[in-house]
Amino acid sequence: MLSIESATVRFGELVAVDDVSFTVPDGQTVVLLGPSGCGKSTLLRSIAGLQPLDSGRIVRDGTDIVALRPHERGIGMMFQDHALFPHRDVGRNVEFGLRMKAVGSGERRERVSEMLRLVGLSGFERRTVTNLSGGEAQRVALARALAPAPGLLLLDEPLGSLDRELRDRLVDELPEMLRRVGISAVHVTHDHDEAFAVGDQVVVMGAGRVLRVGPPMEVWADPCTETVARFLGHRNIVGVGARGQVPWGEISVGPGRVVVLPDAATVVDPGGTRIDHRPSFEADVVASRFRGGRREVEVVTIDGSARLVFLLVREVIVGERISLVLDPRRISPIE
């Protein structure tokens, strides 16, 4: 188990990482999620030993490893642009860490082919790295990082440079490969879809601080603060009065600010049966977008007081006036 305790990194006046703490349980993947410049990559480099901490501890299995230099930590890392050694072929990239541990050549060869099989590149040993495609380079980098069997794997925006399709595929495959090896990992990204897909735990960072920690579903449904909600892409953030008044009527949660999750709304017939006696409200459909295989509908309440975005099951057309009810369980209070 790895725990980061009050880690702080300063660059002059700027506090890049500000008193950050979290733990990585064995075999789990923790995702550091945040906008660029939030300090997540700096923190990752600190865990690897490439960036000294100004204060705080990094404890692995009960021992503080802050004083250890990068080559003494036994941690694997995948760099943003892969950092494959251009003067070595694929096989000799993958075996690098094993050579550093003075592993014999026979065992090395075996381990290299095992690793390449794991990442789906069997037989690539003698290929030059400069001619690999983005996805192949990605896999070689993963194989190289895993070959010496590190106790922890760090991934710095590993999918950032790939095109969409490949990215989606690796988002599925990466956790699977890591699970097969049974390794703990810290994965840095600015993409929340990627974070939710690969992480067992998500640590949302902003301006050097931890804003929210939790399992992906929980963080998404209950972002806790407006900053996190906005960063995760929530659009329906509204103020609720003391008796549940919202601009277009009232709802059964509050008071305070809340985030209405996009799947909270259901279309009902204006005159038809109500579900659970929840209040319904009318709105005009102003836009309908097809995104990621789902229909995202933007509505404006008829008094024009609020603009909301929902994922609706029922098909609607732009310009149509519809009645909606909200599921209070899909509305979360935020600070």
């Binding site: 080559h71 941690i75 943003q80 050694f85």
Partner: protein, 533 residues
């Protein structure tokens, strides 16, 4: 152990440069300034002749620079837009003249003038400033094509495309978008060409005739022909001050040069066929004619063509104490020793420049570039008057020749190594460290193999420089058994008589062939490593 290795990395180059460069040059300076030389120095500027020499040195260098730029820029633009393979070929071809021994270039142009009857009469070029300028353009063409061309190739071509889309014509685009961005490369190339022309020696000695003198040839004339060491030293001081000023300026300009040009978007633009082939033809004519004529002259024996001139190289002649071919053996031996020295000293120094602390890095950077600009004659002269007494009396030892050659070659090693080492992505070193490599192992696994290509390139240049070195060598021990091929070539060239001239041409061709092999080695090793020069 680690600290010992580190100390050696710093100490070895430092001691070498201090003993064989800084100390002799400083001694030369003090001779020029103190030993009654201050008076002479004042006299230099008072004397009409010396004022003329200084003025001539400056303006011929300036005009050589402008001419070279004008002639070479079209080719630089083509090189920038060529595919990688073609670019390498062109770069290799234009580099041959650059590394040719100056004596060979002088001989080639003299042969050219004779062949076309330009050595006398109304169209006489031999012995005129035009001959000197032409040879300088020939010699420095590669500097502009390589420096500007490589830099140009690294520029983001989308800016030009944007300008064209916004309605700028080809010429406007070049003037307003491309040229301003090329400024650092043009400035760097100009400085180098100016420097080489300013301190040019062999070319001026051979093509300028007895009456054309520059500071460099006058140092030689006063020191060797007249034995007036004080005046020679004073002239060397003038030269050194000018050169140091120029180098300081160049270093400043180079520091501003962006290093990250790796991810430039390069779209292979279509180049007009006429423009492409016209340029290639012009280049072939400019660079090929002197070389072609040199070969033709070497085979020409009055009534026809034969290999007789080459055959004569194994016989003794009255101007040389040993057969010409033996001098070539000396040159090769010295070149091997000089290259090894330059690679070790320059390689270590490059590591200090790239990884050392700030101040140390700067001192090394400047200290190791200085010999490039210091004229070879000054180096040779400094060693001659300094290392002539115990504890270090090397005046009569052959080893002093490769040492002097190494001094001239070291800057080439450093200048090719440093950009390559600086260009290594830091994340490669970090990746190696994270994978368990201790810092010294990182150097061995990452810096050395990647920088190694740069080292081969630098070694190739150092070898070519040593093979052709003439300025410094002309001061050093001139025992019968240590004479080098360029010195022998100069003696043959400066002696009247058709048979010796034919031998000279043959020797020049052989020297050229040796150098060409070095260039091919340079270019094939270059690969992705792309240093400045």
């Amino acid at each position: 152990m680690r600290t010992a290795a580190k100390a050696l990395t710093v100490a070895l180059p430092a001691v070498f440069i201090l003993v064989f460069f800084a100390f002799p040059v400083a001694n030369l300076l003090s001779t020029g300034l103190v030993g009654g030389g201050l008076h002479v120095l004042g006299g230099l500027f008072g004397s009409g002749r010396e004022r003329g020499v200084i003025w001539f040195t400056v303006w011929q260098a300036a005009v050589s620079t402008l001419l070279t730029l004008a002639v070479a820029m079209p080719m630089a633009s083509l090189v920038a837009r060529m595919g990688e393979r073609r670019r390498r070929l062109v770069r290799a071809l234009v580099t041959v003249p650059f590394v040719l021994p100056t004596v060979v270039v002088g001989g080639a142009f003299e042969g050219l003038f004779r062949r076309f009857g330009l050595d006398s009469g109304a169209l006489r070029l031999d012995g005129t400033v035009w001959a000197i300028l032409a040879a300088h353009v020939f010699f420095n063409y590669a500097v502009v094509v390589r420096t500007v061309g490589s830099y140009w190739a690294g520029l983001d071509a989308r800016l030009e495309e944007q300008a064209r889309i916004l309605g700028a014509g080809r010429w406007r685009t070049f003037v307003e978008v491309t040229l301003p961005r090329l400024r650092p490369a043009i400035a760097a190339a100009s400085a180098i060409v100016f420097l080489f022309s300013f301190t040019s020696f062999g070319v001026i000695l051979i093509l300028g005739g007895p009456r054309r003198a520059t500071i460099e040839t006058d140092i030689y004339r006063f020191a060797v022909t007249r034995g007036d060491l004080t005046t020679a030293a004073s002239l060397a001081v003038v030269q050194l001050v000018a050169v140091v000023g120029l180098i300081a300026l160049t270093t400043m300009l180079e520091r501003r040069r962006p290093i990250t040009t790796r991810q430039a978007h390069r779209v292979s633009q279509r180049v007009g066929r006429a423009w492409l082939w016209g340029n290639i033809a012009a280049t072939a004519l400019i660079l090929g004619t002197p070389i072609g004529v040199l070969v033709e002259r070497s085979l020409s024996v009055g009534d026809g063509y034969s290999l007789r001139n080459y055959g004569a190289l194994i016989h003794r002649t009255r101007r040389l104490p040993v057969p010409a071919l033996l001098t070539l053996r000396n040159s090769l031996l010295y070149a091997v020793v000089a290259t090894s020295l330059a690679v070790v000293v320059g390689g270590l120094a490059s590591l200090v420049v790239v990884h050392g602390r700030r101040v140390l890095s700067r001192v090394f950077d400047l200290g190791l570039t200085l010999p490039l600009g210091t004229s070879a004659v000054t180096i040779g002269f400094g060693i001659l008057i300094t290392l002539d007494r115990p504890p270090l009396d090397l005046r009569t030892s052959w080893i002093i020749i490769p040492i002097a050659h190494a001094l001239v070659g070291i800057p080439f090693v450093v200048r090719t190594m440093v950009p390559v080492l600086r260009g290594i992505d830091e994340s490669l070193r970090e990746a190696a460290a994270v994978l368990g490599a201790v810092p010294s192992r990182v150097r061995r696994e990452i810096d050395l193999p990647i920088g190694g290509r740069g080292l081969v390139v630098g070694a190739g240049f150092a070898f070519a420089v040593s093979i052709g070195e003439f300025g410094a060598t002309s001061f050093l021990p001139r025992r019968a058994d240590t004479i080098t091929a360029p010195v022998a070539l100069f003696r043959l060239l400066s002696t009247p008589g058709a048979s010796l001239r034919g031998q000279a041409m043959a020797l020049a061709v052989v020297l050229m062939a040796v150098v060409a092999v070095a260039v091919v080695a340079i270019e094939s090793a270059r690969g992705t490593a792309d240093g400045g020069m």
